[in-house]
Each structure stands twice: as structure tokens, then as C-alpha cells.
Amino acid sequence: MIQVGYYPGCALHGTAAEFDESLRAVCHALDIRLAELQDWNCCGASSAHSLDDQLAVDLAERNLRLAVQTGPDLLAPCAACFHRLKTAQKQRPGYEVAIWHVNEFFSRPERLSQLRRRLQRPLQGLRAVPYYGCLTQRQPKITDAPQPEWPTSMDLLMEALGIQVRRWSYKTDCCGGSLEVARPDLVEHLCNRLVRAAQEADADCIVTACPMCQANLDISQAMAVPMAQKASLALQSEPNRPEGTSSPLPSPGQAGLSNRPAEGATTNGHLPVFYITELMALALGVGKPARWWQRHMIDPRPLLAQKGFPIE
């Protein structure tokens, strides 16, 4: 049993609670005790560094002070928190604590072999693309990422779980991050491109370890449904349309853009977006996955059922 300091961050206490719950379940199964920092505060995310450099570092630094009291290792699963904490550590040296992100933490050789030993149910048959996003990798000066343009830590984890990792070149492309609130149109554009690329890579789902990436990809697909409806409405209102021509507007997320025939109406061409820890917990047979699936905007249960995994 080892103890690791734990900084969940606001997202894991709110919109990404399934990331928190699945991570706790996985750590419990792997004999890792998570010691949540006492009275931690928000890291400031992208808003603080946009408006006030000093506030951004002050907010993160308070958590570093707490982390040093808790132990030599700190696990910060949220990519934005990880980035802010690492930034504060580089700018205000003297906090002797190793800040870990989920992918790097679990993909160390000893953890991987431990994971393989405890595997209850390999996720054979699941085809997925690993999506790392920006802030766990860039800039390497801050994140200490060994391969910022082509990270492989989550690939290793996914392979250890038995997942078929699909190659794609969008591993570290941006989802738009916090622009989701003020300019959802931009985020939709970026996410549509990612989802389309994942479909072209012949993936069933996208796997990530960042709450913002998960939310943006999940929400943009779920909210794209009215776009499809809008397109069909527009077609209906076109009276002079020559007969026999098909829709010129394949909506994003529809199977028309994929090489593969539509995988049944159940998933509607959408790709579920998993946290890596959810899949780890599923493969380890721990936690309460049924509760997590309910929280997804794109319901992953049809896909899991189709692949023969229990969903209850």
C-alpha cells in the first residue's frame, strides 16, 4: 500500500465525477491510497492566466504548499490542474513534490505489470483512439513530457487493458478547452474534426484523461443532433429539389463520413468518450460503472453491450 497526494480539482468534484469515482476505484484495486489535499482550492484554470498572471500562480501555489505537507507524490488527474500546478512549481521553485498525471502515473512499468496481473476482464474487441489533448503534454518545458508531439503513455495503458489502439494523428490536437462556454461554435468545429478523424481511424470510441476534452467531445456530439434535424428541415423546405438526389449535407457524426457502415442505430454514428480510468475500472472489475455510463451525454452502453461487456 503506497500513499499518494490527490488533487481532484473542481471538475472532478462536479462535471467529471465519474473520472473521480473510477480513479478512486482503480487506486483501491491497485493498493494505492489517495490522500486528498486538505481544503484545496481551484487552480485558476485558463481564466486566471488569461486575466492575471500573478493570481494564476498564487492559486496554484497554495495547493503546492498543501501537497508538500501531504507527501512526495501528487496525483492531479485534470489536465488543466496538472498544467497549472506544474507551471507554479517551475515559476516558484522549492516545492519538492512530484506532480503526476493519470497516464504517466499508471503507465510506469511496475504499475503496468501490476495492472496486467489484476486484470479481470480484458477489453478485447474495443477499438479506440487515445486522445491526450494539450495540457498534459505542452509545453514540455512545463509538463516534462518526453514526447509532446507523439505521447505513448495512454497507448501503453490501453494495450495493457486489451484495447485495440487505433492510429490517428490527432492525439494532441486541441478541443477548444474553456472556449466551450463563450464560443461553443468554435469548440464544435474543432470537436467535429476530431470525431470525424476518429471515425476515419475506424475507432468505436475515444479515450481521454482530461475532463475538458471529455466534456467538449461528448457535449458537442450530443448537441449536434439538432443540427442534423436542422439540415433535414432545410431539405424539406426546399420544394424544387430534383428527385432522387440525396442530402448534400452529411451532418457531423453521421456514418456517411466513416469508412465503416453504420454500426446500428443504437449509437447513431456518435462515438462515446471514455475516461481511461473508467475503462481501467471496467477491466479490473471494480467500482460501479453503471453509474458512470449514465452520466455520459453519448451513452456508451449500446457499444459496450454490443462488444459483450456487462453494462449493469
Partner: protein
């Protein structure tokens, strides 16, 4: 030439950003690697390499009034790939901060309102309370849009409907907390918000008090965009204390 705005602005933008750690800016030889890697150029009016050049040329007003500085998602691709080690993502941060400091009308007022709502929530609770933050942001954004004629009542209604739909979908899936998660040491966070940092010192000196009212003070003194939000903060700050 109106390269310097009225009020606080005193030094050229290039000097201001160089003083804050971006001396490398001078090394740019316009290779455009930043622009080629940027995922958001489709929504920008100045490309990232043009921003660097414009700062060098002293086109301060054009830079500070651009969409680019607000549309940047801080993905850090430009900084990672720059062969001259210019931290362009940090340059964007500094330009956003200079935009607020010099009271230049932001080209993307909604983005500013979001950041202010986010930090207001952090100062109020010590952590972000999404529902409260989003409600305040939405209200401020809709109100400022209506007032400035960026939006009419019909668009207002459509947007409200879409937000309600998304909100309900997320609420139904228990993705939104109903109550804020508050920390005990809120006073520490407010003190941080009110520490005299170089960037917001002017706004802060005439506001005084907690972090909550600091940010509202900043809004009040900077632009009309933030007025309604500032009032919200003012009230919230009052009830908190």
C-alpha cells in the same frame, strides 16, 4: 497615431511584454510555424505570427483590439514549436491582460465575461461552482449582447432555449452540482485576488476590499461590457461579508 490608448497606457506594448519576460519576441523571423500549427486560425483576424510582428511594429491598438487574443485557446502548440523559443501562448496571456489594463474594447466580449465569471466564482467559494458561474455569465453575456445590439430578442430567446436544453441534459445526468463546494480558507483566496499585482493594480487601488469586489471594481473601471456583471459581483461580495 493612435497606437496608445488613453488612460493607463504609457509604454509601448512591446516594452510592456518584454518587461514581463518576453524578451525573446525580438528573435522572431516570421517562419509561421506558430500559425501553421494553430488550431484556431479559422476564427482569427490576425494570425499568430502577425501578432508578433504587429507588436514589434508598435501596432498596439490593432493587436489589443483583435479577436485573436481572445480566440486563442491556450493550447500551447505555438510555444512548443517555435524555433526561437518565443512563448507565444504567454504573449497572448499578456496581451489579454494589457487589453483589460488599457481599457480597450475587447473584440470578443463574451470570452472576457466568461473569464470574469469564472474568477468571481473562485474568489467567492475557493472553487468553481459551475451552475452559479454559468448563470452569471449567461446573464451578463445576454444583457451586454442586447444592450450593444449584438443580439436581438429573437436570438436571445433561441439562445436561452438552447442553453436550457443543454443545462437540463446535463442536470438529468447529474453532471452539475446544485450546491457550491466551498473551502474553509476563503479569505486566503480573496487576499490573493486583492494582492496588488502589476496587472490589475489600477483597477484594484480604487476598489479595495475582498477579491470579489476587486474583480467587480476592475469591471467597473474597465469597460461597459462588464457593468452588469460588476453589479452582480458587488452584491455577491456584499452578502458574503
Amino acid at each position: 497615431m493612435a497606437s496608445l490608448s488613453t488612460g493607463v497606457a504609457s509604454m509601448p506594448l512591446q516594452t510592456a511584454v518584454e518587461k514581463r519576460g518576453l524578451e525573446a519576441l525580438r528573435r522572431c523571423y516570421q517562419c509561421r510555424k506558430c500559425t501553421n500549427g494553430c488550431p484556431l486560425t479559422f476564427a482569427m483576424d490576425l494570425m499568430p505570427h502577425q501578432v508578433v510582428r504587429a507588436v514589434q511594429l508598435g501596432l498596439d491598438q490593432e493587436v489589443l483590439g483583435s479577436k485573436t487574443i481572445w480566440v486563442c485557446a491556450a493550447c500551447q502548440t505555438c510555444s512548443t514549436r517555435c524555433p526561437n523559443d518565443i512563448d507565444i501562448a504567454h504573449l497572448m496571456d499578456l496581451l489579454r491582460q494589457e487589453n483589460r489594463r488599457r481599457q480597450v474594447e475587447p473584440a470578443e466580449p463574451e470570452v472576457v465575461l466568461f473569464h470574469q465569471a469564472f474568477l468571481g466564482s473562485v474568489c467567492r467559494h475557493g472553487r468553481v461552482f459551475e451552475v452559479g458561474m454559468l448563470a452569471r455569465y449567461k446573464w451578463a453575456a445576454l444583457w451586454s449582447g442586447l444592450r450593444k445590439g449584438r443580439q436581438n430578442l429573437k436570438q436571445f430567446a433561441i439562445q436561452l432555449w438552447q442553453d436550457a436544453r443543454l443545462g437540463w441534459a446535463m442536470f438529468r445526468r447529474r453532471r452539475l452540482r446544485i450546491w457550491p463546494s466551498r473551502i474553509h480558507a476563503k479569505d486566503q483566496i480573496r487576499r490573493m485576488g486583492s494582492a496588488p499585482s502589476e496587472n490589475l493594480s489600477l483597477a484594484r487601488s480604487d476598489a479595495g476590499g475582498s477579491g470579489v469586489s476587486e474583480i467587480s471594481g476592475q469591471n467597473r473601471s474597465t469597460s461597459s461590457v462588464g457593468d452588469s456583471l460588476a453589479d452582480d459581483y458587488g452584491q455577491a461580495g456584499g452578502t458574503q461579508r
